[in-house]
């Protein structure tokens, strides 16, 4: 059987796998099909509604084709990478045509060639949850071949639900590189649609599941450090004084920037714990926990925050918060977060002992700013203080690294003019 080796829309067939819609997502369930078997579908059509722990997400089709079969039942909890829909090309005609079972699809269980239905995905509930996201390397192809690709490229392809055989490799011997995968990721292939929130109780149970897993698997350690934000406050006020309201900064943007700079320097806090080892990320994508008024929260990220100014970060935060609260988050904001911030804000508590979002290894928390007695040059004075905390994965780092990481964050916030 021949593999479709290029991205020609006239492919022979394609199994769509459940994509990861965030670094912390490794399972989900199809709650609704938006197509029917036998339908002719086109790139961009809505295919299914997938329920993740935090929201429902519409999945779009990336190729023209005819829906041949649904591969998973509605409502069943399945792992990322599980094939969910089989399409055949419009040109390939009859459904009886032998179908290449897309051997390189990163399915958790390899599909037997020629078998009409793939093996049912492993029942997730009846076994220990996976230690991280799906394995970085897909299982060997049934025909024994493997598309040459870098491990990072495999991971990325896996995350985006892309078939490596569909990509053109630019590496040595035609190996698929990360850049090739990135180039092939459709812009906004998935998106959350207009206000369609999870009911609070569903959101609660899903967060419960997620956070229980984090606490079960990640040996957390927690550190705290008080930061004098007096200079930061004056710096922001001075800056905002001369600016129109649309260009004003909030401390949150400075927090994101400070954490991003610190994470770039202390790269052992920026990445994922997968397969019993830490994988540093190649960019700093700082996720921000945004609470929803109906209950629950979402964590979209500011991509490459270490390379962006505070003003750029502020404008992205505005966009993220308004999208999160109106239910219009884009999947690209949810995928590939490398570290998370939770900012309690000025109506919040003094400090937070956070729960890490797996497979990330660190979460930085900021409590409310409060007036505290503070000693400066041997004199007791009153300063606005914010307690910054770090929840970190002890498998990846120790308290000594964590202390240095927090110190770097504090230092950035205490010298805002360098942010």
């Amino acid at each position: 059987m021949s593999d479709p080796t290029d991205a020609d829309p006239a492919f022979a067939g394609y199994d769509y796998v459940l994509p990861s819609l965030g670094a912390d997502m490794d399972e989900g369930r199809v709650v609704e099909w938006r197509v029917a078997v036998g339908d002719t579908v086109h790139r961009g059509d809505l295919m299914a509604v997938v329920e993740t722990e935090k929201s429902d997400i519409d999945i779009e089709i990336w190729h023209d084709g005819i829906v041949e079969a649904f591969l998973v039942p509605i409502g069943e909890l399945i792992e990322v990478g599980t094939p969910i829909v089989r399409l055949r090309s419009i040109e390939s005609g009859a459904a009886s045509q032998p179908h290449a079972p897309t051997p390189t699809q990163p399915a958790p269980a390899a599909t037997e060639p020629g078998r009409p239905e793939p093996a049912r995905p492993a029942p997730v509930r009846s076994q220990p949850p996976p230690a991280g996201p799906p394995p970085a390397g897909p299982p060997a192809r049934p025909d024994g071949q493997r598309v040459p690709a870098s491990p990072l490229a495999r991971r990325l392809a896996d995350e985006h639900g892309l078939d490596l055989t569909m990509l053109t490799g630019t590496g040595p011997g035609g190996a698929v590189l990360a850049a090739d995968v990135r180039g092939a990721v459709p812009v906004e292939p998935l998106r959350l649609e207009s206000p369609r929130r999870r009911t609070p109780s569903t959101m609660r149970s899903l967060i419960a599941e997620r956070m229980s897993r984090s606490n079960r698997e990640i040996p957390h350690y927690h550190l705290a450090r008080d930061v004098d934000v007096g200079r930061l406050g004056s710096w922001i006020a001075e800056r905002n004084e001369n600016r129109p309201i649309t260009e004003r900064l909030l401390p949150a943007a400075c927090y994101v920037r400070a954490v991003a700079l610190a994470a770039a320097r202390h790269s052992e806090f920026n990445g994922s714990w997968v397969d019993d080892h830490f994988e540093p990320a190649d960019s700093v994508n700082v996720a921000m926990a945004i609470s929803l008024r109906g209950g629950g929260l979402v964590t979209p990220h500011v991509r490459a925050a270490d390379e962006r100014s505070v003003d750029e970060i502020m404008s992205t935060l505005n966009e993220l918060v308004s999208a999160a609260r109106s239910g219009n988050l884009r999947a690209s904001w949810m995928t590939g977060s490398t570290i998370t911030i939770t900012n309690l804000g000025d109506t919040g508590a003094d400090l937070v002992h956070g729960v890490i979002s797996p497979p990330q290894v660190a979460l930085v928390g900021f409590g409310r700013s409060r007036q505290r007695p503070w000693i400066v040059d041997d004199l007791v004075t009153i300063r606005p203080i914010v307690t910054a905390t770090l929840a970190a994965d002890h498998r990846a780092t120790d308290g000594a690294n964590g202390s240095r990481f927090l110190a770097t964050i504090a230092n950035h916030l205490e010298h805002p003019e360098d942010l």
Binding site: I245, L250, G345
Partner: protein, 94 residues
């Protein structure tokens, strides 16, 4: 598509009543709070009452500044905590 229809429309028919403008700005930023707005005490600190955070605050103020066609400097924020304070500030007076 009709995505642009609302903007020119609201600009053409600028809301003149400050209270309506304030309530509309809040409802715009936090649609789920709309049912609560009718019963809002005009003399209560509604930011706290409605649990609006700093990002909401900035969004509401930005909308008001745009609608009213004037800047709202940050130093004025502390005295703009109730509907009545905002109404007076935005020039409604009565």
């Amino acid at each position: 598509m009709n995505t642009d229809n609302t903007l020119p429309d609201s600009a053409d028919h600028r809301i003149v009543d400050p209270v309506t403008m304030i309530l509309a700005a809040i409802a715009d930023v936090a649609p789920e709070l709309e049912p609560e707005l009718a019963g809002l005490d005009p003399d209560v600190d509604f930011w706290t009452e409605l649990q609006l955070d700093s990002m909401d605050h900035l969004s509401v103020m930005t909308r008001l500044a745009t609608q009213a066609g004037r800047d709202i400097p940050e130093r004025d924020y502390p005295r703009l905590t109730t509907i009545n304070e905002l109404r007076t500030y935005l020039g409604g007076g009565q």
